[in-house]
């Protein structure tokens, strides 16, 4: 039995936690406990729904073979997982939705970057063949390849850092969350051509995330802000 995926997951969760703690030191309006609960709950729900969706898509009956749910390596449906995670986050943060999602978005991008960097622990960073100077080969092979997972992680880290800097300027609620979704979509869309895959990734959905997130960010940023209530 292999547990290398677990290391990747721990890198992701660890990245999320450290990013939240670091952000809270710079931005005292953040409530780390609430955001941690929402992000973790959304992640667990997304993983469970994504795994069930993958089983159904592969023709494995989840009722007859309930134990197979824990075999994460056998496949997780990215679109179903993302939709479930976003839905759960929206539900858990519903009392102050846009502010909660804004607070969480940069840290979630760092957490996702941690998951992709976890490829170094499970030796699965490589994509299509490449002769670029930084390409490398898997052990026992002479075919050098794009370290595509590191590219994805780099986009996510840069995006997370940019969004956190933007957050310190207090943009309109919802702007950071929309931009975060766009960065997540971009990170996969830009690197998909360098991934090796039997079926190809859900490129259309990555595009939906990019355009939908960017549209939401622009819409939120250009909305008039509510006037502060006047006393007396």
């Amino acid at each position: 039995m292999e547990f290398t995926l677990l290391w990747g997951a721990l890198a992701g969760v660890g990245g999320l936690y450290l990013a939240l703690r670091w952000m809270a030191r710079k931005d005292t309006t953040l409530c780390v406990g609430d955001l941690w609960d929402i992000a973790l709950g959304a992640g667990i729900a997304g993983l469970a729904v994504g795994r069930l969706a993958a089983m159904i898509r592969q023709g494995v009956n989840p009722l007859a073979h309930a134990g197979d749910v824990i075999l994460i390596r056998a496949g997780v449906d990215t679109v179903a997982a993302s939709a479930a995670a976003l839905g759960t986050a929206a539900w858990l943060g519903r009392r102050n939705l846009r502010e909660q999602l804004d607070g969480m978005a940069p840290a979630v991008l760092v957490g996702l970057a941690g998951w992709h960097l976890g490829c170094l622990l499970r030796e699965s960073c490589l994509g299509t063949a490449s002769s670029l100077p930084w390409a490398w080969a898997q052990s026992g092979s002479e075919i050098t390849r794009h370290p595509v997972e590191l590219y994805t992680a780099a986009i996510l880290l840069i995006g997370g850092h940019f969004l956190f800097r933007l957050r310190l300027r207090y943009p309109a609620p919802g702007t950071i969350a929309g931009a975060g979704l766009a960065v997540a979509g971009l990170s996969r869309l830009a690197t998909e051509p360098m991934r090796v895959s039997l079926f190809g990734g859900p490129v259309g959905w990555y595009l939906v995330a990019l355009i939908g997130g960017a549209t939401a960010a622009i819409w939120a940023a250009t909305r008039p802000r509510p006037e502060p209530a006047e006393d007396g």
């Binding site: 159904i56 009956n61 390596r73 092979s141 075919i143 895959s197």
Partner: protein, 155 residues
């Protein structure tokens, strides 16, 4: 709603029978070596068993891979420490009967190639050079990468 009903119905269905899948031929370590040495195509050798839960989870992926690359890569399966009826039922259930399938009741063949446990997969270049040995369930990206390596290094 129809999807839920279909899932429930499938969950309550009786055990799958072997269908048209015939008896799997037995194979010895020497015969496997001959098969690999004589192959002009790269070979993916999958070691599996019907009682192995991870094997069931990865079976649809392997079926799709064989459907996509079966013309360029030879997909071979060896059922180990299993019964003929259970193994054939498994192949019938997952549509893996288009693989070249063999039967190794005592599970001695994989050990002679360096394998252990179930499932695991060997990736061989034409002529039988072992390029990669993967233990446990294989995910789609890892399988795709190893198939790409086989095609590039085998050509």
């Amino acid at each position: 709603m129809p999807v839920v009903v279909a899932v429930l119905a499938a969950g309550c269905s009786a055990a799958v029978d072997p269908g048209d899948v015939g008896l799997l031929p037995a194979i010895t370590p020497g015969e496997v070596q001959e098969l690999l040495a004589g192959s002009t195509e790269p070979v993916v050798l999958n070691v599996w068993a019907s009682w192995c839960i991870p094997c069931r989870s990865e079976a649809p992926l392997l079926r799709e891979a064989q459907a996509s690359f079966g013309g360029e890569i030879r997909f071979v399966g060896i059922s180990v420490r299993d019964s003929q009826r259970s193994a054939r039922s498994f192949l019938n259930e997952f549509g893996l009967d288009s693989f070249e399938q063999f039967f190794d009741r005592d599970g001695v063949v994989p050990g002679t190639l360096g394998g252990r446990g179930v499932p695991h997969k060997f990736f061989f270049a034409p002529g039988g050079e072992l390029l990669e040995l993967h233990f446990g369930v294989i995910d789609e990206r890892t399988l795709a990468l190893n198939l790409d390596e086989l095609l590039r290094r085998g050509s």
